[in-house]
């Protein structure tokens, strides 16, 4: 019923700390996407899940970033040893199918690394 939800909506952390961002997709959506949007910039693709499998992880900016998905539901994006350059809005989107269907975006998590 409800749309894509993300938590937390805002996260302020200190440089070097780990953070975990959560995405709850629309029920029944097999495709799930993570994007990053820096202030005033466009969308940067991070990773895509089809079910709980991620065919292409090359969009993750560094090995400090990882993502996982449980079945066809919740996904978490983890950033280890955060850096100031990680500050951005992290957006999650889900869709019924990859590549040929609408992507429904969540409200995003605004991450600020001090």
């Amino acid at each position: 019923g409800a749309g894509v939800s993300q938590s937390p909506s805002n996260k302020v952390t200190e440089k070097g700390k780990d953070v975990e961002l959560r995405c709850d997709p629309i029920s029944g959506h097999t495709a799930l996407y993570w994007y990053r949007q820096r202030l005033g910039q466009g969308l940067e693709f991070l990773i895509y899940f089809q079910g709980n499998s991620a065919p292409d992880k090359s969009g993750l900016p560094s090995d400090r970033f990882s993502a996982e998905r449980t079945g066809e539901s919740v996904s978490t994006l983890t950033i280890q040893r955060t850096q100031q350059e990680d500050s951005a809005v992290y957006l999650c989107a889900s869709g019924r199918d990859y590549s040929s269907d609408t992507q429904y975006f969540g409200p995003g998590t605004r991450l600020t690394v001090l």
Binding site: G42, L43, F45, Y48, P55, S58, Y98, S99, S100, T102
Partner: protein, 110 residues
């Protein structure tokens, strides 16, 4: 590698038309169009799959020229609610990685 959108910004009066272009250097499987208002998440407008199709959504339509690797978004009789930043999202053939365009800021004035 990032698709180039043109124009970068455009200001319209209500009722005027606009065209936003998205040009990729890669062969594309599909193109998505989104509108994002300040401080909000992007909202999907439409998707075009390879095949040179054209689609319409109310007063907003789009075309996709697969051979030229270009897509255009057509806004007719613009309304104040059309204001925002428009992004094309491209899916290069044979990949799983969406690449978004540089964005076009559109402002509609009363």
């Amino acid at each position: 590698q990032q698709p180039v959108q043109s124009p970068q910004a455009v200001i319209l009066r209500e009722g005027e038309d606009a065209v936003i272009n998205c040009s990729s250097s890669k062969a594309l499987y599909s193109v998505h169009w989104y509108r994002q208002k300040h401080g909000e998440a992007p909202v999907f407008l439409m998707i075009l799959l390879k095949g040179g199709e054209q689609k319409g959504h109310e007063k907003i339509s789009a075309s996709f020229n697969e051979k030229k690797q270009q897509s255009s978004l057509y806004l007719t009789a613009s309304q104040l609610s059309y204001s925002g930043t428009y992004f094309c999202g491209t899916l290069p053939s044979g990949t799983y990685k969406y690449i978004f365009g540089t964005g076009t800021r559109l402002k509609v004035l009363a």
